[in-house]
Symmetry: C2
Amino acid sequence: MNPANDFALQCPLPLRDYPVITMAHGGGGLLQHKLLENLFWPAFQNPLLAEEHDGAVAVLGDKPLAFTTDSYVVRPLFFPGGNIGTLAINGTVNDLCMCGARPKYLSAGFILEEGVSMETLWRIVQSMKSAAEESNVQIVTGDIKVVDKGKGDELYINTAGIGVVEAQALSPSRVQPGDAILLSGDVGRHGVAIMAVREGLDFETTIESDCAPLVEPVMKLIGSGVEVHCMRDLTRGGMATTLAEIARKSGFRIHIEEKAVSVAEGVRGACEMLGLDPLYVANEGRFVAFVAARDADRALSVLRSEPSCADASLCGSVLAENNPIVTLKNNIGSTRILDMLMGEQLPRIC
Amino acid sequence: MNPANDFALQCPLPLRDYPVITMAHGGGGLLQHKLLENLFWPAFQNPLLAEEHDGAVAVLGDKPLAFTTDSYVVRPLFFPGGNIGTLAINGTVNDLCMCGARPKYLSAGFILEEGVSMETLWRIVQSMKSAAEESNVQIVTGDIKVVDKGKGDELYINTAGIGVVEAQALSPSRVQPGDAILLSGDVGRHGVAIMAVREGLDFETTIESDCAPLVEPVMKLIGSGVEVHCMRDLTRGGMATTLAEIARKSGFRIHIEEKAVSVAEGVRGACEMLGLDPLYVANEGRFVAFVAARDADRALSVLRSEPSCADASLCGSVLAENNPIVTLKNNIGSTRILDMLMGEQLPRIC
């Protein structure tokens, strides 16, 4: 059979509406979700992938392991609070944490553009070394490819990671009515830090990315005996998209109180200037945890005892309503629906 | 400290000789080796990485696991005998096999260039699905990033893989004098297949890549009880570079008989026309196995019983000589040294 006909016959309609890949297919929002749903998941289908989690949990031998990957294409390579190397370590470490796993081993694959300066590569690799040490993970295998000048953008990094699961299964399907939702800190800093550099914006104080490893707070939370049902880090698409995905997968309505969602003043100002909603802006060191209602206060104090989560808050709850949406009650008392990010808000944020 | 000074102070001299990355840094030869040796390995140092293997073997729980990664940047995306998707599955599957592991789980990270056709992506993903099924592996986690038009080359794929080790430790350090060296089939087909398409060469018969999974022959060899000391697939840099690396790491001289190294007639002709040495041309479905001398004949018949290795040969041996070089006795009886690939022979071959 002619492969072209094959495509026309088998390709589902939502894909044929987009004959080519657009930036929004990589934005972590609705269009990316459609691409996964219509192209990748049907092709690669298996029970582990069907969890649609940040990583897969599998039992090989006597221990459940978590396995995850991300490619990093952030622009610019260096930004206040980090660089592509720190992101590549912390991002994958954090995805393992979100599976309730203690990160152990990482792989690192580099796609270098011909002509990238050795010093740039050197500085990034040194940052990766420090970030790996901070989270006590080892980079045990790797790969280097070089592409012609004009076929890359200095460098792209892929990391994959393996961790040992220390928590009971964490999954949106374990989210239940009554669950309390904890937010680990203020939102929107990573996206705004990147945009500020890219657009050459000059604020009174530099806004730094929140890029940070989550190993300590997550392991402490799990070790405390709090009944955790689900955790997710708030990366591409921001807090709103992450919550919308969890609502969709759990089947229940999620309700958030805006007053419990902290946004730094500089971030709020920058978002107003740039026309962004901080709830949709990417973070690289923030997460939400869904915990049993009775454990909410204890979970909050465990989180707050970690310096990186000192501003953690109880930001909402899961309602006993079979309606997979997210609602936000704002500071003046009205309620709106938070949907998944449409289109592409901030390209190449990570 | 100023990071620029930091670089000048700490960067080892061999790197400072190359202020920017060149294509040869990705060629799998000597310059790539120097980059690993001077930049990556010192930064990420740990015992698993120090093995310098295609993958890392670690014990997590009661079973030793193999972990590996590769990024794929081959140009063109489609070539006789495969495409970037089949390469991305088989390449990582084969790296796990070379660790003596049965491949189980893969991750897949896509870097898509804005504007790449949905049909291209679709066809590649369908090939990945088939290749994964053939090797009985599951793609359990993944990631999609999109970069601006002109910042990629349609698409790049990274795969990482986990397998369960079923063999005794395989490593160049276990290679010993007297070991027999088995070659699983003819060499040079992948590189020539790619070059033929790229250069628009028209041969009487199309030369197809040898791209294929090695799970069956490798698992059969391991299961047969043959004492295997080391295995390596012959990818970038070809058979010569792979053997030179093993010689360097084992400390012993490796000797090869050219008459036992099969090169298809079309491949030989194309290599002469293109000025290539088939021993340095990349393969994607060939490997060498170092086995105890007493098991050589048995190992050879095990391999030959697999259709993909019907042309396997006993191509050389390890000499009792503390001289980490590779020598080749050619068909007219003279001997030459096979060194690691210098520079970049075939860019973006995988």
